[in-house]
Symmetry: D2
Subunit: 330 residues, 4 copies
């Protein structure tokens, strides 16, 4: 029974959190990881660059660029803030890709329509301005300033029986886009990041990450074209919270006892195995995967999907970028 | 303006209706079309075989086998009838395909989740028992009697920007199934067929048919494996109803006047152009495609999707066929 | 069988159409019906006042004010036009009611969530800014400029087993609002009005109207407070279209034949009964109520619901009226 | 900041869990609480009777009868088990109410359609066989063996602006049912109870309980007719899990150290305040209410709603009770 939990370690899909966890341990910057931050009135942009194989290994994240927008205000309904963030998201997205005027782009909404915290990708796809077929058949109806955009929300392995990566490979071979953008719901470590954080990465989606357990990497190596991954944390694993809680509690006890105290040693010696036993006792009875989510998750996902769709529409279609980004939804 | 209507002719996706229309004109059987009917207590099965290129042309339907289940009672909620029809549907489906014990099958749900009358295909896919990934990764969890089934509801051209046929080609090349089953919502000519009729055809889906306008044929010629099309009429085009109404009315007048009457000739001479003018006057102001549907369409589609999914599950997985067919939904 | 159709007459829930039909017959204005029109760049506002019992009877609409916004462009996605119309809708709504600063308002979304063309009312309610409980419990969190708004989407008789009017009576007795606004999906006669027309009436909702068949009037007489009805046509009854088609066709034939022609008399004499017979032949086989709707109805209803919710929010909450109307959705 | 958490105590809506917590403390039965269990092959039924004001106070649950069905297998799709449990649920429900042949029943689906874990009540209402209007208007269409059932899913305070209890009071005054059944999603303490436990209580719904925070009690005292509450736990509060985790961990440490050890005293002395501090540190950053739910919650709620609706249909309509219970679901 306990095996499940022992094998699961604390998990985050955010590079920014992977870095925080390492820095927490070593208390200084990590070699091979360059970080640059920019503060705006209502949000912060952090750009993390992983540049060496060693840093890749320590961080548990592939080499490449990870840009994160942190917007605590997004959990409240605020149309103006949403539009401001959508514009910055468009800028950051464009700074990571090389788009020619006639580049064609395929957007993949990963995840499962019918599982609310995993539905972000399909929801974004629903609001995209898809143009590939119009540019092929009746380009005159669109006017200038639109790139060929196609989109698919293929569903998850448990629903299709096919690895999502295979479906994408087939589609890319048939339609030959120049760029792939993959949208996914992520798992965070820290509850404050739920529905407030957007990560854009040029590394693709690493297998096993995401809210659903997808397995085949979707990256330039497997797909053959550049892959930009856009993700938003919608859940924290219950195991992560449990691990954090117990670790913090034990640390607090040891700190209060002091390093010379016999308590310190006793607690230290018994801690790890007890921790696992207790977590197993509390979480295992369910016998499945548990997530921590806010009660209002349905609305939060709907709002975030509109923001991302608006930002992607503006990034891919210059004609829209010149106008406000939420205008061409549907 | 009128051009739209003049170009549209009466349309049906049902072979059984195409035949009725021809027979109505010529009043005898059509050469190259073999028909065989079987009556059950609460429904009727009709098997139409189109065997010559001439018949194909006259019928406007590809050569092949079209099996139709007509079940007037399906519009009322009746669980027992649904199960009975699901079992017969399973039998008819199995009689049209050659399945080895280890055959693998891909089921495609054509149509658009977000447009109720076009959502039949995606709804069926949602209720299928998909097994391909389990048989690959953990076959022991399933036991005997399950074939490798995969499924996709790709959406429509306007949502993906890609011809559905291309998406399927890519997927079939990657996953190499032995058989394709495509589910689609159809347009009928006759209102009595709405949500009461199931057509199974071994000819694939002809381009331009269905509720949405799909264009690339999905058939053995384009996909490379046998294609079974399963369809249910969910709408009648408003133009079809209008055409039927006006034709019947003119015929009624002429019949009443009698062939010797001057009225007969006058009405006959002026009918066709007036008919077009009047239909244009009434229907064109909307400026888009109009459909006639029952008010309770949402429920009817949900029920039919469960019936089809149950029947397909039983057909593809012998272990289910032995039990009752609706048991393994989800 | 034919009885159904003979009893059904052409039906419209729009006063503007009832008037057009009468004027079509008599070719001059109707006594007791005052009409005033105002043209805007992209839409037209028509204000019909029914002032005498005779006019009420002839029009088949209760005495009172009916304001109609006709916006042909609404069927295309156009955010700017939607906002412009929402603002005008707010103005027209406010001109029909007497709201004190502390008036409280109950909004009722009539219709059925699960039947797309009937879901307009519940969809509007979902997007309203509801404040009654906040003003009662924590008024300080809202600030100035908000009235007490409550809302309910009770569902339809077939789902609740209770007349919607009774549910509203109970709620009004308990919560004592000063004004009731009832939102409903309507049936139009003319296809061009589908999803492009908004009617605001100070007469309440007449029993038997609407897409669903509701029976107890929701009006000041039955509820005890002023009732404003807001409606948008989402369907045309198939019978209405059929009737229009056949009438126009017969008129066209007679016109072409000329009044002296024997054809004229023959067609005239046989027309009415034949018309009924033919319509019954074509429409009765379905055996239920049929509607004509555009294929993209799901999206059209979603857009219209947002427009109406935005306009009502701005009308009821002065703090929002000063800002743009779609900002406080959710 | 910490105040939030200090004020929240461990919370459960299940009498069976309230009892377990007390017994855990005192290690013997609680005076004024009678318990009786019955084991079936795949599930267990426990009947808890709270009979004294003292027991009411200690349990935090009103005096009355609480019957609980615990069915661990419900989390797997298993149609046969679902039907078996639905039948037992029908029996238990009937044993708690006094229904005459002509009793009329109002079923209220508490909770919010648009928030998945809170949507159980509205989903059940959707699948009920509602008959009150038919028995009033066309009783002959139903035949023998149907009671007058009405139903409403009013939504939650944040959506309506009105206390749900007030809406129900108004409706009960208008329609005078003999019995009220209220369905709600509950919060449990123990994860193993999620989606596997059904509680039936004759005490009504206590204010403040449920997944959403409703405030006015819905009970015989406030409504005037007997109220049966049917609930299923769909979430565990994150605070509950956190509290359980930390308590168990500290207990484990103390046990291992032994009561004579200095560690025991130190840990005991510092535990409570540290626990609160740590929980606040981990959970407060989100700043809202967090819930622990299984990933597949959407499907679990859909299945449970069908089970409950089937069971209630069979309990209220003798004609259905004689057949299988899921047969009359729409």
């Amino acid at each position: 029974m306990h095996a499940d939990l022992t094998q699961q370690s604390i998990r985050t899909d955010l590079a920014i959190e992977a870095r925080e966890m390492l820095i927490g341990e070593v208390e200084r910057e990590i070699p091979g990881v360059a970080v640059q931050s920019e503060d705006f009135t209502d949000f912060q942009v952090t750009r993390v660059q992983i540049t060496t194989p060693e840093a890749e290994k320590r961080m548990g994240k592939k080499q490449g660029q990870y840009t994160t927008l942190e917007v605590p205000g997004l959990r409240q309904k605020n149309t103006e803030l949403q539009e401001m963030v959508a514009r910055q998201f468009t800028k950051e997205l464009l700074s990571m890709v090389q788009l020619a005027e006639d580049s064609s782009v395929l957007v993949i909404g990963l995840g499962n329509w019918n599982v609310t915290p995993d539905a972000l990708g399909p929801r974004v796809v629903k609001d995209l301005l898809v143009t590939r077929h119009i540019l092929k058949l009746q380009p005159e109806t669109l006017g200038e300033g639109f790139r060929a955009v196609s989109a698919l929300a293929p569903g998850v392995l448990g629903i299709t029986g096919v690895e999502t990566g295979e479906i994408i490979q087939g589609l890319v071979e048939k339609t030959k886009p120049d760029l792939l953008i993959a949208i996914d719901a992520l798992a965070a470590r820290n509850l404050s990041r739920l529905h407030t954080t957007i990560q854009i990465a040029d590394t693709g989606i690493t297998p096993g990450s995401g809210v659903g357990n997808r397995r085949l990497a979707i990256s330039e190596e497997t797909i053959g074209i550049p892959v930009i991954a856009v993700g938003v944390p919608t859940v924290v694993d219950a195991v992560t919270i449990a691990d954090d809680l117990t670790s913090h509690l034990l640390a607090a006890i040891m700190e209060q006892a002091g390093p010379q105290s016999p308590v310190f040693k006793v607690v230290q010696s018994i801690a790890e195995s007890d921790k696992r036993t207790v977590m197993a006792e509390i979480l295992n009875p369910y016998g499945g995967r548990l997530m921590v989510t806010p009660k209002e998750i349905d609305t939060l996902i709907e709002d975030m999907a509109r923001l991302l769709a608006g930002g992607i529409n503006a990034a891919l279609h210059p004609a829209i970028g010149r106008e406000e980004s939420t205008k061409y939804l549907h």
